[in-house]
Protein backbone atom coordinates (compact mmCIF):
# COMPACT_ATOMS: atom_id res chain seq x y z
CA UNK A 1 0.00 0.00 0.00
CA UNK A 2 2.75 2.41 0.94
CA UNK A 3 4.50 1.81 -2.35
CA UNK A 4 1.59 3.38 -4.20
CA UNK A 5 1.76 6.65 -2.31
CA UNK A 6 3.07 9.69 -4.10
CA UNK A 7 6.68 10.64 -3.46
CA UNK A 8 5.58 13.67 -1.44
CA UNK A 9 3.40 11.56 0.84
CA UNK A 10 6.14 9.00 1.32
CA UNK A 11 8.61 11.69 2.29
CA UNK A 12 6.05 13.32 4.58
CA UNK A 13 5.41 9.97 6.25
CA UNK A 14 9.08 9.28 6.81
CA UNK A 15 9.71 12.74 8.24
CA UNK A 16 6.68 12.40 10.53
CA UNK A 17 7.84 8.98 11.71
CA UNK A 18 11.36 10.16 12.44
CA UNK A 19 10.00 13.24 14.18
CA UNK A 20 7.69 11.19 16.41
CA UNK A 21 10.41 8.71 17.34
CA UNK A 22 12.78 11.58 18.13
CA UNK A 23 10.09 13.21 20.27
CA UNK A 24 9.46 9.96 22.14
CA UNK A 25 13.19 9.63 22.82
CA UNK A 26 13.25 13.24 24.01
CA UNK A 27 10.38 12.55 26.41
CA UNK A 28 12.40 9.84 28.15
CA UNK A 29 15.59 11.86 27.96
CA UNK A 30 14.10 14.88 29.76
CA UNK A 31 16.04 15.68 32.89
CA UNK A 32 14.15 14.54 35.99
CA UNK A 33 13.38 17.98 37.40
CA UNK A 34 10.89 18.94 40.05
CA UNK A 35 7.57 19.87 38.39
CA UNK A 36 7.23 16.77 36.26
CA UNK A 37 8.82 14.44 38.76
CA UNK A 38 6.29 15.43 41.38
CA UNK A 39 4.32 12.31 40.52
CA UNK A 40 7.37 10.26 39.79
CA UNK A 41 8.84 9.03 36.55
CA UNK A 42 5.38 7.99 35.34
CA UNK A 43 4.41 11.63 34.70
CA UNK A 44 6.11 11.29 31.34
CA UNK A 45 2.95 9.54 30.15
CA UNK A 46 1.47 13.05 29.89
CA UNK A 47 3.60 13.73 26.85
CA UNK A 48 1.65 10.94 25.16
CA UNK A 49 -1.70 11.52 26.83
CA UNK A 50 -2.08 15.22 25.97
CA UNK A 51 -1.24 14.89 22.24
CA UNK A 52 -3.61 11.91 21.95
CA UNK A 53 -6.48 13.83 23.50
CA UNK A 54 -5.61 16.84 21.33
CA UNK A 55 -5.63 14.90 18.10
CA UNK A 56 -8.90 13.20 19.04
CA UNK A 57 -10.54 16.61 19.35
CA UNK A 58 -9.00 17.79 16.06
CA UNK A 59 -10.13 14.61 14.30
CA UNK A 60 -13.72 14.94 15.54
CA UNK A 61 -13.87 18.61 14.55
CA UNK A 62 -12.56 17.77 11.09
CA UNK A 63 -15.00 14.86 10.90
CA UNK A 64 -17.91 17.25 11.55
CA UNK A 65 -16.52 19.71 9.01
CA UNK A 66 -16.32 17.01 6.35
CA UNK A 67 -19.82 15.82 7.24
CA UNK A 68 -21.14 19.33 6.49
CA UNK A 69 -19.14 19.41 3.27
CA UNK A 70 -20.52 16.05 2.23
CA UNK A 71 -24.12 17.09 2.78
CA UNK A 72 -23.51 20.27 0.78
CA UNK A 73 -21.55 18.88 -2.15
CA UNK A 74 -22.42 15.16 -2.18
CA UNK A 75 -18.85 14.27 -2.98
CA UNK A 76 -18.13 10.81 -1.55
CA UNK A 77 -14.48 11.74 -1.08
CA UNK A 78 -15.61 14.21 1.61
CA UNK A 79 -17.49 11.45 3.39
CA UNK A 80 -14.47 9.13 3.27
CA UNK A 81 -12.29 11.86 4.72
CA UNK A 82 -14.80 12.47 7.49
CA UNK A 83 -15.32 8.79 8.22
CA UNK A 84 -11.59 8.06 8.41
CA UNK A 85 -11.10 11.17 10.52
CA UNK A 86 -13.75 10.04 13.01
CA UNK A 87 -12.24 6.55 13.16
CA UNK A 88 -8.78 7.99 13.83
CA UNK A 89 -10.42 10.19 16.46
CA UNK A 90 -11.97 7.14 18.11
CA UNK A 91 -8.65 5.27 18.20
CA UNK A 92 -6.89 8.23 19.79
CA UNK A 93 -9.76 8.78 22.21
CA UNK A 94 -9.32 5.17 23.28
CA UNK A 95 -5.56 5.66 23.66
CA UNK A 96 -6.09 8.87 25.63
CA UNK A 97 -8.64 7.09 27.86
CA UNK A 98 -6.29 4.19 28.52
CA UNK A 99 -3.24 6.36 29.14
CA UNK A 100 -5.35 8.58 31.40
CA UNK A 101 -6.64 5.58 33.33
CA UNK A 102 -3.11 4.24 33.80
CA UNK A 103 -1.94 7.60 35.07
CA UNK A 104 -5.04 7.79 37.26
CA UNK A 105 -4.13 4.45 38.82
CA UNK A 106 -0.65 5.76 39.57
CA UNK A 107 -1.71 9.11 41.00
CA UNK A 108 -5.32 8.81 42.21
CA UNK A 109 -5.01 5.14 43.12
CA UNK A 110 -7.81 4.00 40.81
CA UNK A 111 -8.17 3.41 37.09
CA UNK A 112 -11.67 4.79 36.86
CA UNK A 113 -13.37 7.46 38.91
CA UNK A 114 -16.14 8.94 36.68
CA UNK A 115 -14.26 12.18 36.89
CA UNK A 116 -15.71 14.93 34.65
CA UNK A 117 -13.09 14.34 31.99
CA UNK A 118 -13.52 10.59 32.18
CA UNK A 119 -17.28 10.92 31.86
CA UNK A 120 -17.11 13.19 28.82
CA UNK A 121 -14.45 11.15 27.06
CA UNK A 122 -16.43 8.00 27.72
CA UNK A 123 -19.50 9.53 26.09
CA UNK A 124 -17.37 10.52 23.10
CA UNK A 125 -16.30 6.88 22.84
CA UNK A 126 -19.94 5.78 22.91
CA UNK A 127 -21.01 8.28 20.25
CA UNK A 128 -18.27 7.53 17.78
CA UNK A 129 -18.52 3.80 18.35
CA UNK A 130 -22.24 4.15 17.56
CA UNK A 131 -21.31 6.21 14.49
CA UNK A 132 -19.11 3.40 13.20
CA UNK A 133 -21.68 0.68 13.94
CA UNK A 134 -24.31 2.77 12.12
CA UNK A 135 -22.00 3.04 9.11
CA UNK A 136 -21.34 -0.71 9.03
CA UNK A 137 -25.03 -1.55 9.09
CA UNK A 138 -25.86 0.38 5.92
CA UNK A 139 -24.68 -1.25 2.71
CA UNK A 140 -25.42 1.33 0.06
CA UNK A 141 -22.51 3.76 0.08
CA UNK A 142 -24.41 6.97 -0.69
CA UNK A 143 -26.97 6.14 1.97
CA UNK A 144 -24.28 5.28 4.48
CA UNK A 145 -22.53 8.56 3.80
CA UNK A 146 -25.70 10.59 4.14
CA UNK A 147 -27.01 8.98 7.31
CA UNK A 148 -23.59 8.88 8.99
CA UNK A 149 -23.12 12.57 8.23
CA UNK A 150 -26.52 13.43 9.69
CA UNK A 151 -25.82 11.35 12.80
CA UNK A 152 -22.45 12.90 13.47
CA UNK A 153 -23.85 16.40 13.05
CA UNK A 154 -26.83 15.65 15.28
CA UNK A 155 -24.42 14.38 17.92
CA UNK A 156 -22.23 17.42 17.38
CA UNK A 157 -25.13 19.76 18.22
CA UNK A 158 -26.42 17.89 21.26
CA UNK A 159 -23.28 16.69 22.98
CA UNK A 160 -21.86 20.05 24.12
CA UNK A 161 -24.82 20.20 26.51
CA UNK A 162 -23.03 17.64 28.61
CA UNK A 163 -20.69 20.34 29.75
CA UNK A 164 -23.67 22.06 31.39
CA UNK A 165 -25.09 18.91 32.94
CA UNK A 166 -22.11 17.15 34.40
CA UNK A 167 -20.99 19.86 36.81
CA UNK A 168 -24.59 20.01 38.07
CA UNK A 169 -24.52 16.36 39.05
CA UNK A 170 -22.07 17.10 41.78
CA UNK A 171 -19.23 15.40 39.99
CA UNK A 172 -16.10 17.36 40.59
CA UNK A 173 -12.86 17.04 38.75
CA UNK A 174 -9.44 16.29 40.07
CA UNK A 175 -8.08 16.13 36.55
CA UNK A 176 -5.10 18.49 36.40
CA UNK A 177 -5.45 21.34 33.93
CA UNK A 178 -2.06 23.01 34.12
CA UNK A 179 1.48 22.19 35.03
CA UNK A 180 4.56 24.12 35.90
CA UNK A 181 6.81 23.11 33.09
CA UNK A 182 10.37 23.95 32.27
CA UNK A 183 11.18 25.37 28.87
CA UNK A 184 12.49 21.99 27.69
CA UNK A 185 9.26 20.30 28.63
CA UNK A 186 7.17 22.85 26.76
CA UNK A 187 9.42 22.32 23.76
CA UNK A 188 8.96 18.55 23.84
CA UNK A 189 5.22 18.88 24.32
CA UNK A 190 4.88 21.27 21.38
CA UNK A 191 7.03 18.92 19.28
CA UNK A 192 4.74 16.02 20.22
CA UNK A 193 1.63 18.04 19.33
CA UNK A 194 3.08 19.02 15.96
CA UNK A 195 4.24 15.48 15.25
CA UNK A 196 0.90 13.91 16.03
CA UNK A 197 -0.96 16.51 13.97
CA UNK A 198 1.32 15.66 11.05
CA UNK A 199 0.57 11.98 11.66
CA UNK A 200 -3.16 12.73 11.45
CA UNK A 201 -2.73 14.62 8.17
CA UNK A 202 -0.62 11.78 6.81
CA UNK A 203 -3.20 9.14 7.74
CA UNK A 204 -5.98 11.11 6.01
CA UNK A 205 -3.81 11.52 2.90
CA UNK A 206 -2.97 7.80 2.93
CA UNK A 207 -6.66 6.98 3.13
CA UNK A 208 -7.37 9.19 0.12
CA UNK A 209 -4.48 7.64 -1.84
CA UNK A 210 -5.61 4.14 -0.94
CA UNK A 211 -9.11 4.82 -2.25
CA UNK A 212 -7.75 6.38 -5.45
CA UNK A 213 -5.70 3.26 -6.07
CA UNK A 214 -8.61 1.00 -5.34
CA UNK A 215 -10.86 2.85 -7.75
CA UNK A 216 -8.30 2.84 -10.54
CA UNK A 217 -7.15 -0.76 -10.10
CA UNK A 218 -9.80 -3.03 -11.63
CA UNK A 219 -9.58 -1.63 -15.15
CA UNK A 220 -10.92 -3.28 -18.27
CA UNK A 221 -7.49 -4.39 -19.38
CA UNK A 222 -6.45 -5.92 -16.11
CA UNK A 223 -9.40 -8.17 -15.47
CA UNK A 224 -9.35 -10.37 -18.57
CA UNK A 225 -5.59 -10.69 -18.12
CA UNK A 226 -6.00 -11.97 -14.60
CA UNK A 227 -8.78 -14.29 -15.71
CA UNK A 228 -6.55 -15.62 -18.45
CA UNK A 229 -3.78 -16.08 -15.95
CA UNK A 230 -6.06 -17.99 -13.61
CA UNK A 231 -7.33 -20.31 -16.33
CA UNK A 232 -3.76 -20.90 -17.47
CA UNK A 233 -2.80 -21.82 -13.91
CA UNK A 234 -5.75 -24.15 -13.75
CA UNK A 235 -4.78 -25.83 -16.99
CA UNK A 236 -1.21 -26.24 -15.84
CA UNK A 237 -2.52 -27.75 -12.65
CA UNK A 238 -4.66 -30.18 -14.62
CA UNK A 239 -1.75 -31.11 -16.82
CA UNK A 240 0.33 -32.01 -13.86
CA UNK A 241 -2.23 -34.29 -12.34
Amino acid sequence: MLGRLSKGDNLFGIITGVWLVATAVAVFALPPVEPIEYFGYSARILFFHIPMAWIAVVAFLMGAWWAVQYLRKRDLAQFHHGSLSNKVGLVFTLLATVSGAVYGKLTWGTFWNWDVRQTTIFILLLIYAAYIVLGYSIEDEEKRARISAVYSLFAFVTVPFLFFVIPRLGITTIHPTSFNMTFNMVLVLVAALLGITALFIWIVRCGAAYRRNRVVEPTAQEEPASFAQTSKDLQNGEDQT
Binding site: Y131, L134, S137, I138, R146, F154, T158, I166
Partner: protein
Protein backbone atom coordinates in the same frame (compact mmCIF):
# COMPACT_ATOMS: atom_id res chain seq x y z
CA UNK B 1 -60.73 36.21 3.77
CA UNK B 2 -59.70 35.00 0.39
CA UNK B 3 -58.67 31.43 -0.11
CA UNK B 4 -55.70 30.90 -2.35
CA UNK B 5 -55.86 27.60 -4.13
CA UNK B 6 -52.61 25.81 -3.46
CA UNK B 7 -51.27 22.42 -4.35
CA UNK B 8 -50.35 21.61 -0.81
CA UNK B 9 -52.53 22.16 2.21
CA UNK B 10 -51.15 24.47 4.87
CA UNK B 11 -48.26 23.27 6.98
CA UNK B 12 -50.22 22.77 10.17
CA UNK B 13 -52.88 20.84 8.35
CA UNK B 14 -50.20 18.53 6.95
CA UNK B 15 -48.71 17.97 10.38
CA UNK B 16 -52.19 17.27 11.68
CA UNK B 17 -52.86 14.85 8.86
CA UNK B 18 -49.66 12.87 9.52
CA UNK B 19 -50.44 12.79 13.22
CA UNK B 20 -54.02 11.74 12.57
CA UNK B 21 -52.87 8.98 10.23
CA UNK B 22 -50.46 7.60 12.84
CA UNK B 23 -53.00 7.89 15.63
CA UNK B 24 -55.64 6.10 13.58
CA UNK B 25 -53.32 3.29 12.62
CA UNK B 26 -52.24 2.99 16.25
CA UNK B 27 -55.85 2.89 17.40
CA UNK B 28 -56.47 0.07 14.96
CA UNK B 29 -53.39 -2.01 15.64
CA UNK B 30 -52.80 -0.93 19.27
CA UNK B 31 -49.31 -2.24 18.72
CA UNK B 32 -46.97 0.56 19.83
CA UNK B 33 -48.63 1.54 23.08
CA UNK B 34 -49.36 -2.02 24.18
CA UNK B 35 -45.72 -2.97 23.52
CA UNK B 36 -44.49 0.04 25.47
CA UNK B 37 -46.85 -0.57 28.37
CA UNK B 38 -46.20 -4.28 28.72
CA UNK B 39 -42.47 -3.78 28.30
CA UNK B 40 -42.46 -1.18 31.06
CA UNK B 41 -44.54 -3.45 33.28
CA UNK B 42 -42.11 -6.32 32.66
CA UNK B 43 -39.09 -4.18 33.52
CA UNK B 44 -40.64 -2.74 36.66
CA UNK B 45 -41.95 -6.10 37.85
CA UNK B 46 -38.55 -7.65 37.15
CA UNK B 47 -36.79 -5.07 39.27
CA UNK B 48 -39.38 -5.07 42.02
CA UNK B 49 -39.54 -8.86 42.28
CA UNK B 50 -35.79 -9.23 42.45
CA UNK B 51 -35.56 -6.60 45.16
CA UNK B 52 -38.34 -8.16 47.18
CA UNK B 53 -41.07 -6.68 49.37
CA UNK B 54 -41.23 -5.06 52.78
CA UNK B 55 -38.54 -2.68 53.93
CA UNK B 56 -36.33 -3.59 51.03
CA UNK B 57 -38.55 -1.64 48.62
CA UNK B 58 -37.63 1.63 50.30
CA UNK B 59 -34.65 2.46 48.17
CA UNK B 60 -32.87 5.76 48.43
CA UNK B 61 -34.09 8.52 46.08
CA UNK B 62 -31.03 8.30 43.84
CA UNK B 63 -31.58 4.61 43.12
CA UNK B 64 -35.32 5.14 42.68
CA UNK B 65 -34.91 7.87 40.10
CA UNK B 66 -32.25 5.91 38.22
CA UNK B 67 -34.53 2.87 38.06
CA UNK B 68 -37.49 4.97 36.92
CA UNK B 69 -35.53 6.49 34.05
CA UNK B 70 -33.89 3.25 32.98
CA UNK B 71 -37.32 1.64 32.73
CA UNK B 72 -38.57 4.62 30.73
CA UNK B 73 -35.53 4.61 28.46
CA UNK B 74 -35.71 0.95 27.56
CA UNK B 75 -39.47 1.07 27.10
CA UNK B 76 -38.99 4.01 24.78
CA UNK B 77 -36.38 2.03 22.86
CA UNK B 78 -38.84 -0.85 22.54
CA UNK B 79 -41.66 1.23 21.10
CA UNK B 80 -40.60 4.59 19.64
CA UNK B 81 -38.60 3.18 16.75
CA UNK B 82 -41.77 1.91 15.21
CA UNK B 83 -42.91 5.21 13.69
CA UNK B 84 -40.70 4.76 10.65
CA UNK B 85 -40.22 0.99 10.64
CA UNK B 86 -43.99 0.55 10.43
CA UNK B 87 -44.14 2.65 7.24
CA UNK B 88 -41.50 0.42 5.68
CA UNK B 89 -43.15 -2.83 6.73
CA UNK B 90 -46.54 -1.70 5.50
CA UNK B 91 -45.03 -0.42 2.25
CA UNK B 92 -46.48 3.05 2.79
CA UNK B 93 -43.14 4.87 2.95
CA UNK B 94 -43.15 6.06 -0.63
CA UNK B 95 -46.76 7.18 -0.52
CA UNK B 96 -46.05 9.22 2.59
CA UNK B 97 -43.03 10.80 0.91
CA UNK B 98 -45.07 11.80 -2.08
CA UNK B 99 -48.12 13.04 -0.23
CA UNK B 100 -46.67 15.09 2.65
CA UNK B 101 -43.89 17.68 2.93
CA UNK B 102 -40.87 16.32 4.87
CA UNK B 103 -41.17 18.81 7.71
CA UNK B 104 -44.80 17.85 8.25
CA UNK B 105 -43.75 14.21 8.52
CA UNK B 106 -41.01 15.17 10.98
CA UNK B 107 -43.26 17.19 13.27
CA UNK B 108 -46.13 14.75 12.95
CA UNK B 109 -43.95 11.81 13.96
CA UNK B 110 -42.32 13.78 16.78
CA UNK B 111 -45.69 14.78 18.22
CA UNK B 112 -46.92 11.20 17.96
CA UNK B 113 -43.87 9.85 19.78
CA UNK B 114 -44.06 12.59 22.41
CA UNK B 115 -47.67 11.67 23.03
CA UNK B 116 -46.78 7.97 23.34
CA UNK B 117 -43.94 8.46 25.77
CA UNK B 118 -45.72 11.06 27.90
CA UNK B 119 -48.69 8.73 28.34
CA UNK B 120 -46.32 5.90 29.11
CA UNK B 121 -44.51 8.01 31.72
CA UNK B 122 -47.81 8.50 33.57
CA UNK B 123 -48.41 4.76 33.60
CA UNK B 124 -44.84 4.01 34.71
CA UNK B 125 -45.07 6.61 37.47
CA UNK B 126 -48.24 5.07 38.85
CA UNK B 127 -46.76 1.56 38.77
CA UNK B 128 -43.56 2.88 40.27
CA UNK B 129 -45.36 4.47 43.21
CA UNK B 130 -47.25 1.24 43.80
CA UNK B 131 -44.22 -1.05 43.58
CA UNK B 132 -41.61 1.05 45.33
CA UNK B 133 -43.62 2.78 48.01
CA UNK B 134 -42.56 6.25 46.90
CA UNK B 135 -43.89 9.26 48.74
CA UNK B 136 -44.13 12.41 46.66
CA UNK B 137 -44.75 15.84 48.10
CA UNK B 138 -44.14 18.10 45.11
CA UNK B 139 -46.31 16.59 42.38
CA UNK B 140 -46.01 19.55 40.04
CA UNK B 141 -42.21 19.38 39.90
CA UNK B 142 -42.25 15.62 39.49
CA UNK B 143 -44.66 15.75 36.56
CA UNK B 144 -42.69 18.66 35.10
CA UNK B 145 -39.38 16.80 35.21
CA UNK B 146 -40.97 13.57 34.01
CA UNK B 147 -42.75 15.14 31.05
CA UNK B 148 -39.98 17.49 29.96
CA UNK B 149 -37.56 14.56 30.10
CA UNK B 150 -39.92 12.31 28.15
CA UNK B 151 -40.51 15.01 25.53
CA UNK B 152 -36.76 15.50 24.98
CA UNK B 153 -36.21 11.77 24.84
CA UNK B 154 -38.90 11.22 22.23
CA UNK B 155 -37.73 14.12 20.04
CA UNK B 156 -34.24 12.62 19.83
CA UNK B 157 -35.55 9.09 19.48
CA UNK B 158 -37.70 10.14 16.52
CA UNK B 159 -34.64 11.43 14.72
CA UNK B 160 -32.55 8.34 15.45
CA UNK B 161 -35.50 6.12 14.53
CA UNK B 162 -35.50 7.72 11.08
CA UNK B 163 -31.81 6.81 10.75
CA UNK B 164 -32.06 3.30 12.18
CA UNK B 165 -35.05 2.49 9.97
CA UNK B 166 -32.78 2.71 6.94
CA UNK B 167 -30.14 0.35 8.34
CA UNK B 168 -29.92 -3.35 9.06
CA UNK B 169 -30.44 -4.68 12.57
CA UNK B 170 -32.73 -1.77 13.25
CA UNK B 171 -33.88 -2.53 16.78
CA UNK B 172 -30.52 -2.96 18.48
CA UNK B 173 -28.94 -0.23 16.39
CA UNK B 174 -31.69 2.16 17.46
CA UNK B 175 -30.73 1.74 21.12
CA UNK B 176 -27.02 2.06 20.42
CA UNK B 177 -27.27 5.29 18.47
CA UNK B 178 -29.90 6.88 20.72
CA UNK B 179 -28.29 6.39 24.11
CA UNK B 180 -25.29 8.72 23.79
CA UNK B 181 -27.47 11.48 22.33
CA UNK B 182 -30.05 11.46 25.09
CA UNK B 183 -27.46 11.29 27.88
CA UNK B 184 -27.53 15.01 28.75
CA UNK B 185 -31.33 14.93 29.05
CA UNK B 186 -31.25 11.55 30.77
CA UNK B 187 -28.73 12.51 33.45
CA UNK B 188 -30.42 15.84 34.03
CA UNK B 189 -33.86 14.23 34.38
CA UNK B 190 -32.46 11.65 36.81
CA UNK B 191 -30.99 14.43 38.91
CA UNK B 192 -34.28 16.36 38.86
CA UNK B 193 -36.30 13.30 39.82
CA UNK B 194 -33.89 12.48 42.61
CA UNK B 195 -34.31 15.97 44.00
CA UNK B 196 -38.12 15.68 44.01
CA UNK B 197 -38.08 12.22 45.58
CA UNK B 198 -35.66 13.40 48.25
CA UNK B 199 -38.02 16.25 49.08
CA UNK B 200 -35.70 18.94 47.77
CA UNK B 201 -36.76 21.81 45.52
CA UNK B 202 -35.91 21.46 41.86
CA UNK B 203 -34.09 24.52 40.61
CA UNK B 204 -35.60 26.54 37.79
CA UNK B 205 -32.43 26.10 35.72
CA UNK B 206 -33.02 22.38 35.79
CA UNK B 207 -36.39 22.82 34.08
CA UNK B 208 -34.91 25.33 31.65
CA UNK B 209 -32.20 22.88 30.73
CA UNK B 210 -34.60 19.99 30.23
CA UNK B 211 -36.85 22.12 28.05
CA UNK B 212 -34.00 23.88 26.24
CA UNK B 213 -32.36 20.62 25.30
CA UNK B 214 -35.60 19.44 23.75
CA UNK B 215 -35.94 22.67 21.77
CA UNK B 216 -32.36 22.47 20.47
CA UNK B 217 -32.83 18.83 19.48
CA UNK B 218 -36.12 19.70 17.78
CA UNK B 219 -34.55 22.50 15.73
CA UNK B 220 -31.41 20.52 14.84
CA UNK B 221 -33.58 17.55 13.89
CA UNK B 222 -35.79 19.75 11.74
CA UNK B 223 -32.76 21.06 9.84
CA UNK B 224 -31.22 17.62 9.35
CA UNK B 225 -34.40 15.63 8.73
CA UNK B 226 -34.68 16.61 5.06
CA UNK B 227 -31.39 14.85 4.35
CA UNK B 228 -32.75 11.65 5.86
CA UNK B 229 -36.18 11.76 4.36
CA UNK B 230 -36.12 13.18 0.86
CA UNK B 231 -33.51 10.83 -0.57
CA UNK B 232 -33.87 7.94 1.88
Amino acid sequence: MQHKPSRFPSFFMSVGAVLRKDALSELRSKYAFSTLAVFALTCLAGISMSIGGGELTQLNPQVQSVLLWIVLFFSAMAGLGRVFVQEQDAGTLLTLKVSAPPQAVYFGKVIFNVFLLVSLSVLVLILFIVFFDVSVSDWLSLIGVLWLGSIGLSIIATMTAAMAAQAQGRASLFTIITFPLILPEFLSAIEGTRAVLAGEAVELTQFLFLGGYGVVALVAGSILFDYLWIEG
